[in-house]
């Protein structure tokens, strides 16, 4: 039984510092570098894509974890920052991905501390099982804000 899967994207140069991106799952985007790296404002960038890949993957894994941990999720929002380091030799890398998820769940008749503990475990599992978070070499920091509502 094969336990690998393959995903693909295709990029094509559009002139200047612009390109066109076709995702394997369908969407298409114009992209460039960020303006501070000789790119264009207002379009998708590789930097955004890297941070977004981790942010979206952790969220999707959390949604799955929330179902498995029987959480009544009310809302999830997460701002994630990627910190870029420019090295002495001018190479660059993302050293850190800092997730700040804001999660609201319903207590559903259970004590709030019990539910909050389960949210934290679901979040740990989401980070552990996220394909993208597992695949990057950036340090990953998760600072959640969890609200358990009595409803």
């Amino acid at each position: 039984m094969s336990r690998t899967a393959t995903y693909h994207t295709t990029v094509r140069w559009k002139g200047d510092h612009r390109g066109h991106l076709v995702m394997g799952n369908g969407p298409e985007y114009e992209f460039s570098a960020p303006p501070d790296a000789h790119g264009c404002a207002g379009v998708f960038t590789p930097e955004d894509a890297y941070v977004a890949a981790a942010n979206t993957c952790v969220m999707m894994m959390f949604l799955w974890a929330a179902e498995r941990f029987k959480l009544r999720l009310l809302s999830y929002e997460c701002r994630t920052e990627g910190t870029k380091l420019v090295e002495l030799d001018r190479t660059e890398l993302f050293t850190r991905l800092h997730f700040r998820p804001k999660i609201r769940v319903a207590a559903g008749g259970e004590p709030s501390p019990v539910v909050e503990a389960r949210v934290r475990r679901a979040l740990q599992s989401a980070r552990k099982y996220s394909l993208v978070a597992n695949s990057v070499k950036s340090e990953i920091v998760v600072d959640p804000e969890i609200v358990v509502e009595e409803c």
Binding site: S2, A65, R68, F69, R121, S125
Partner: protein, 151 residues
């Protein structure tokens, strides 16, 4: 304090407690010191392969088991895993701490993560069908290598 046998397969390290016996499914059975009473839990390979535990549902004290009956079910982030008793008898105690801390099955599978105590109907007969730690390590290693080799 249990001593452990240890084996590394790919990037995974699996420990086998040396002070108990095992079913081929990776359920461990340890004599409690009370005549005919045995403690049941899952081995390190089973807990790693099953994933982070969200819930552990154990059949209540008083439940009568035939050898081969399911005595508990683990709901993990990835799957629902039925735990099969290799011992016939009656459940006399369940690990209530797993209600609040199911992660103990993952964090301390041979200690705080124990699942149930069974008053065996014929421990002498059931014991013969169980693997000693060395034999179980070998069987577990073959299974793990087969799975890793399939990827």
């Amino acid at each position: 304090m249990a001593e452990f046998l240890e084996t590394t397969i790919d990037k995974f390290i699996f420990r086998v407690a040396a002070d108990r016996r095992y079913s081929r499914d990776g359920v461990w059975v340890q004599e409690c010191g009370v005549d005919g009473q045995v403690r049941l839990g899952v081995g390190d390979f089973v807990q790693q392969r099953s994933g982070d535990a969200a819930f552990v549902h154990v059949k209540p004290a008083g439940t009568r088991l035939a050898s081969g009956d399911e005595f508990a079910e683990m709901e993990t982030i990835k799957a629902n895993v039925g735990l099969v008793s290799p011992v016939a008898g009656e459940i006399v105690e369940v690990n209530k701490d797993l209600d609040m801390s199911p992660e103990n099955v993952n964090l301390d599978p041979y200690g705080k993560g124990w699942v149930a105590v069974v008053q065996a109907a014929d421990w002498g007969a059931d014991r013969v069908g169980l693997l000693d730690p060395v034999a179980y390590l070998s069987a577990m290693r073959a299974q793990a290598e087969e799975e890793v080799g399939a990827s």
